[in-house]
Amino acid sequence: MSKKVTIIGSGISSLTTAIILLQKGYEVRILEQHYVAGGYLHTFKRFGVEYETGGHYQGALGDGLPFQRLLSYLGVFHEDDYIELDRDHVDVYRFEGWGFSYGTGYEKNILNLIKIFPDLEEKIKKFFDRVSESAHCFPTYYFKTEIDQKLVMKHLNISLSEVFDELEIEGRLREVLEAPCLLHGVSPKDVSFGVHSIMTDSLIVSAHGFKNGGKQLVKRFTDKIVELGGEILLRKKVTSIERDGKRIKAVTCESGESFESDLFISGIHPKLIFEMIGHENLRKSFSSRLTKIRESDPFVGAYLLLKDSVGINAKSNYYFYPKGTQSVFGVELGQKRGPFVFMSSPLRTYNGEGELPLSLHAPCQSDEFKRFEKLEKRSKDEEYLKLKEELFKPLIETIEEEFPGFKKSIVSICYSSPLTNQFYNPSPNGSAYGIYHDSTCTGVKSLGPRTHFENLYLTGQNTLFPGLLGASVSGLRTSGHIVGIKSILNQLKN
């Protein structure tokens, strides 16, 4: 008799896990709290446009590259769903008075950096060699069945800052090389070089956007899951968990329905699932460790419609550092950081004519929105609306300096706060990247996939590294723990 699996949450990690387990003969049921599946692949409609919540752009989706291979293996990759970003200007970083555009391909980035820093050619080459070497040694990224444990450990055990120190990279070069830390939200001092190298490599080797939104990929996943006999139940918010010693017996939803199964997989934030189990039922050592794990910064969002593009390239992503912010990671942790703003368009197919939709995201302080948490009809509250607007004012001014006419061109604008995030993709503080992926919870020290409960597994960005790729690979890793990773990696390799 096939084993029954219940998966909580329907983000890309849960969807990935579901397909692999269905292919291996498991009976799979997914419980999703919302009326639609997808987690951070959700899109929402405003001003007639579908805006992304998380799927702003994807790395390693080019031919033969890891993310495309993984999605193809799952049977959900369709070339027409994606559009390649501007190969010369994927990530445009604007620092005070200067800037740099990361493009596609190692060689291009190395040459462009050498143009700016001609005396540092050797250091630049060494750094990117090291990024590539590190990224290629992880078996669940470039899909290898043989693992050089020593090499993996070498890259995991060192921080990005330590690599800069070893290579004697300082000043502006260091600033531009550490800027992509914004993609995982962890300071260079705290991020494991191994983790950082995967994120960096994935975006250097190729960068794509969704043609029809992240929801298109969700549809591919859900169609496949249904085709394989799995079920996705919507509006099923898990609120309590029944256990029997070290085994989970059943999960119960807000609706009162209970679901029993042989295995349970949680794709939601680990803190939330263990809260439901109850800290009194956890080993104290694990409970206190979990409590100590920090969350990454919460984000505010603005969703705009511009009358015209004012020179903004819809196939680029922009990162602005407002005046006085040398770099978001230039100050010690714990001090108030100067905000940066990330700008991208959900309409990657924009042909330069007509209205251009944009989204802006910026980190904010965790406690800034706390007072509105319990407020009913929050979306109509003037003070709440004003705070969101105020936070974006200086950021919009910064963009105006880069793209004159930006402000005047705004036809419509609306905002989101960490509380919006907490509602749609629950995390303790409304963070977008989940837990702060420092060296205490990455690599061997990652939370999950196994837990202290023998039939409960974890998946999702919190168990590996952030982003769609990180979350999807975490699904591969979780299912690999259940059915054996080698056979899956063998298929992926070929």
């Binding site: 450990m153 080993r283 050592s285 694990f286 206190s288 060296s439 690599g443 061997v444 020290k445 837990t451």
Partner: protein, 85 residues
């Protein structure tokens, strides 16, 4: 850090976080057989010890430890190395 300080720090962490009686915390105590820990506990232990002592361990070496004495020795060794550096 002096070895005795390291031993005391680790014992304090283990008794607090893993609720183990101090009398059980001897150098020859086997982590799995005598202290009843498993491989997941070992990861939690590593994180707690790093947090307590401020010593960053080599995960590969830590995976080889069998007894509490091995843990004391490893932390002391890494601690003295980082002091030299």
């Amino acid at each position: 850090m002096e070895k005795q300080l390291i031993v005391d720090g680790i014992n304090e962490t283990l008794s607090e976080e893993f609720e183990l009686g101090i009398d059980k915390l001897t150098p020859d105590a086997h982590l799995f057989d005598d202290l009843g820990l498993d491989s997941l506990d070992a990861v939690d232990m590593l994180v707690h010890i790093e947090d307590k002592t401020g010593v960053k361990m080599d995960v590969e070496q830590f995976q080889k430890v069998k007894t509490l004495g091995d843990v004391y020795d490893l932390v002391a060794e890494v601690s003295s190395q980082s002091k030299l550096n």
